[in-house]
Amino acid sequence: MIQEQYRGTRQWSRNRQAIAIVVWISFLTAAVGTMVFFAFFDPVELSGTFDEDLDIGRDAGYAAGFFFFWVLTAICSAVTAWLVRTAPKRDAKNR
């Protein structure tokens, strides 16, 4: 058997696949979102509108924005993946 002898057959479990996809795709989406968002809004000016005493640098502003987007997209992605995977199978068969 070729497969056993020579072929690497490394395969991730379905959970591992799902986690990797969720983390990676939400990361990409968050990166694009951060880029577009901060092209239009300057974190320094933004923080001033919330609280005038709040003085965060742009570095921290970008990072906070990015992680905010990442958490948001990851939640969305994870819940979607979970709902799709746990959907009742019966519906599909009866259709």
Partner: protein, 463 residues
């Protein structure tokens, strides 16, 4: 065909042999040289570009803290975002173009995942040896030799990853200052964090996840087939010529044995970084690295058979029908790409390097002054995108007899500077009533063709 592995079993088997590592076998050949060249030049560019200088500053610097992008002599501002959007559209279309023409050539030669994985595999080979030696080493119990080899691999991997993270951050923070700062642990917290973050991502992706990223995580790998057609150049096994496959002596007469050209040496499977058998046809795991072509060609040479049993070919021509690589689709993509590209270059070359923003004071509608004058207050923002200082004339029109108060004859804006200018516009109440549209304009003192205007509203009493 009798000894061909059962397809059903081939797909089920991996479930039981989970998490087995792929040890791609090393191979020399035309495509291997090409891939080496691509890896070295792309990585070389990535690591060298941040060190280039232009006019005393970093030639390519995406200075996020200052919200300015420097590209050689050009300085881009957040207001130039449309250029970035256009660039992304061009990048996407370029990918479509090359996919339709050459299949997954991006995956095989240019994708960062492939390129860094390749570099990490080289380091693995330097420290742990060939495929056979690596397999043996992994099976062997821990020994001084194993520790030394594995340890030096990790050392190479980790230093390369950290250097990668440092270079990446160097695109966003001046790299000449960042280097010493990181060494003396005096760099900003975020610069250090992103260096480690990107370094860790490189280490994980290129050292461990490798082809799994392409198989499970990459969206392009899943939808690229939509861009294929029957005339796309793909790596394929010539089934008509190869089958029935089977082992034989080099001197054997294959016709007498009733065999095709494939000697079933499985080299093409051993060299595959994603662990597939190209002879099963086009599979989405195939990243088109062409290692199997090199492997098969070397075997064909030994057997004195013509090369190309596995080769770049189109679906149509492998079936034996006529195939045209240069087809209308390719020309349409090429035409669209050239139009967009020329558009981008022209608009960048002819852009006016001045930006004028007018913000009307929101706290008051208007003010009545003695002498029946009406006053409105604005804040003007004049941005000079060029790198040297420039002087401008400011003008206003839209209401008969309108004048500006508190504005110097000539306003001076430093190179790459933003001037915030509060101005009071005044007009006689006979002329100013209700809501009127006014236009502010700035023009360069030395070159009147460099001008920019912006409209706003002037409010007066209701007539």
């Amino acid at each position: 065909m009798s000894d061909r592995p059962d397809k059903e079993q081939a797909q089920v088997a991996p479930m039981f042999a989970s998490a087995e590592k792929i040890y791609p076998r090393e191979i020399k050949g035309r495509f291997e040289s090409l891939s080496k060249l691509a890896t070295i030049s792309l990585l070389g560019l990535f690591y060298a570009v941040p060190w280039l200088m232009w006019d005393g500053r970093q030639a390519f610097l995406f200075d996020l803290p200052a919200r300015k992008f420097y590209l050689l002599g050009l300085t881009l501002w957040p207001q130039d975002f449309p250029y970035l959007a256009m660039l992304l559209v061009i990048a996407a279309l370029t990918l479509f173009f090359f996919t339709a023409l050459l299949g997954r050539v991006w995956c095989g030669f240019a994708c960062p995942q492939t390129v860094w994985t390749e570099a990490f595999i080289w380091m693995e080979q330097w420290t742990e040896g060939t495929r056979k030696q690596r397999m043996k080493l992994d099976k062997a119990p821990w020994s001084w030799n194993k520790l030394r080899r594995k340890g030096s691999k990790q050392l190479l991997w980790l230093s390369f990853s950290l250097w990668t993270g440092f270079t990446f951050v160097g695109y966003f923070t001046p790299i000449h200052e960042l280097g010493p700062q990181l060494v003396t642990v005096s760099a900003g917290g975020w610069a250090t964090f992103w260096t480690l973050f990107y370094g860790f991502a490189t280490y994980g992706n290129a050292g461990y996840m490798r082809e799994q990223v392409c198989k499970y995580m990459c969206p392009y790998a899943r939808f690229q087939s939509a861009m294929f057609d029957e005339d796309t150049l793909i790596i394929s096994y010539d089934e008509i010529r190869g089958e029935p496959r089977g082992g034989r002596k080099r001197t054997a007469d294959k016709e007498a044995l009733g065999l095709g050209d494939c000697i079933d040496c499985t080299l093409c499977v051993q060299v595959c970084p994603t662990g597939i058998d190209i002879r099963d046809g086009l599979q989405y795991e195939c990243i088109a690295c062409a290692a199997c072509i090199d492997a098969c060609d070397s075997v064909m040479d030994k057997m004195n058979y013509p090369r190309g049993l596995v080769r770049y070919s189109t679906e149509r021509s492998i079936k034996g029908t006529d195939s045209k690589v240069l087809r209308p689709r390719i020309f349409v993509y090429a035409a669209l790409l050239s139009v967009l590209f020329i558009g981008l270059i022209t608009s960048m070359a002819t852009r006016t390097p001045i930006i004028l923003d007018v913000i009307r004071d929101r706290n008051s509608l208007y003010r009545e002054l003695p002498g029946d004058m009406i006053e409105n207050i604005y804040t003007l923002k004049v941005i000079n995108q060029r790198n040297d200082e420039h002087s401008f004339h400011l003008a206003i029109e839209g209401v008969p007899g309108i004048t500006l108060d508190g504005v110097p004859e000539v306003i001076v804006v430093a190179g790459g500077g933003v001037l915030s200018l509060p101005v009071r516009a005044r007009a006689h109440r006979d002329n100013a009533y209700g809501i009127m549209e006014i236009t502010f304009s700035v023009a360069d003192v030395d070159d009147a063709s460099l001008a920019m205007s912006e409209t706003s509203r002037f409010l007066g009493p209701t007539p």
